[in-house]
Amino acid sequence: MLGQLIVSSLVVGSIYALLALAMSITYKASEVPNFAQGEMAMISTFMAFVMLSSYGLPFYAAMLITVVFAFVLGLLLEFLFLRRAKMPTPLNLIVITIGFQLMLYGFAGWKWGSDQRQINLPFSESKVIFQNDIFALTELNLATLIIAVVVLVVIYLLIQRTKLGLAMKACQQNINASRMNGISANRIMAITFGISSVVGAMAGILVAPILTLDPSMMWDPLLKGFAAAVLGGMKSLHGVVIGGLLLGLVENLFGFYISIEFKSVVAFAIIVLILYFKPSGLFDKHYVRKV
């Protein structure tokens, strides 16, 4: 049983890890926790649903369109709203993302109603693909793990091995110095939001078959993703991934052995406790500002 629990925690945890990574990428660049992340993922998932069900496109074409759509959505958030704020405080930017979240939520409810829908992915959640006496793995579980690993590797390569990643890191460290060195910081910022939106959309699509597709489906996963990012340390990319996996593990083990109702609360309580001893998460250095 423990083996099965650990496997399913890994699956849930990798979804949390994707969301946490999405939050962390934009947080590193702009110091803003993007509360619209979940709704952006939700809208992108609806886009995939429309492409698959209404237009009957093959899975790969639908995915491609969804990725492009998610990227543009992220660009729009930065270009239309965040960039326009003059001399913003972090709280102002947070409120802008909350406003964008409400807009997207309202739009989705308006466009698609609050009916619960089922998204048809080519991998089912009931068909068992692999089984031994320790654990069983369904198609969806396997697809989740594979997609999560692929996305993580792609993001890692993007940041560590490409010119774009170098520019992103430069902007995160010192935006004025990078401007002086000829990096178009505004464009890099917009692209960062686009990338983060794509990562979030992947998580949304993977979550949709487990939950049902409706405008409020991402609330809970987003809070967990955010919590996972905080647990790992918002600014450390490998930290947030580990944070996501840990959160999934804690939640599932507690939910199975002690109480399923309190599993979210305990997960959050543990995070608050950890933050008390490590105020910047597990894997991030805590910088004390000096005068």
């Binding site: 939520y105 308006w110 609330w219 955010f226 609360v265």
Partner: protein, 349 residues
Amino acid sequence: MRNLKTDYFEDLQLFKDGLQLFWSAVLLLLLFALPFFVKTYYLTIINLMAVNVVVALGLNLLVGNTGQISLGHAGFVAIGAYTTVLLLKAGVPFIFALTASGLVTGLFGVLLGIPSLKLEGPYLAIATLAFGLAVTTVIGRMDFLGGRMGMNVPKISLGWTGLKYDQSLYYVIIIITILAVIATRNLLKSRIGRAFQAIRDSDIAASAIGINLTKYKLYSFGISAFFAGIAGSLWALYLGFINPTLFSFILSINFLVIIVLGGLGSITGSVMGAIVLTYLNLQLEDVVEIPILGDALLRFSELFMTATGVSNVSWFLTGFILILVVLFEPLGLYGLWLRTKIYWKRWPF
């Protein structure tokens, strides 16, 4: 007209001059005469606005004046509401139940404040959010708190006023709201209020000039929660029925929207934000009822959207207004009011 203050006690004065005193008296008179002129329906709306004003005052102390974000204020309101209901059921008079709710909630505020002392930004946001979630989950599990089903709130005895229940409830709520406004105003002019603002502007500089960060941050959490508790108590009376789902994460966001819309760090802002947003929420709930616009919207929805989801327009518009406010008027409605006032004051120029 004199604009500069020459005396320290001038700053403490509740009313700047006779004119302000006059208009405040007119406003008070109007508020007290209201129940005899308007229908009960409008009284309930004003009650809801007043309750939101009290929460907004407290939240603004924490967010606007001390600079600490909170995404869990619905949790404090819930604690206040449940404490009141429990005490009322035990037969405690309302005035004591109200005070006790405020104090108990304030204590929870200090308790939440302790782990939050070192945190800032998203870390603080997650800690407060976790608190809000924990409160509703725990309440939903407790049988003596009514669990998920909720509880009825006993009516308090207001017969001795000789008025109808709704009218006397209005007076109770409005008097407490006015007291809350005055208390906040006086607090902000005191040593504590100035310490809050110093912490917001620069915590390092504040501690360098001898402000005890731990103490004043805890004060801020405690007082903010105290107000939320009082508001929760009033809310329970106003609704007559409470259950845990009322105090969701959305409610916390709603409170945050109120103070941002009204103006961070300003009492006038809290009041204006609460009044405007409460009204807006109620109006937008049945957006189709608006005369010409509603029809057009319904037609548009049938063509391009879904007619069943048309009420979701309210979310969309709230979000859009919120973004517009932050982009174009970061001080919110209070900033708008300030600019209009200054414009007319030096009009020809």
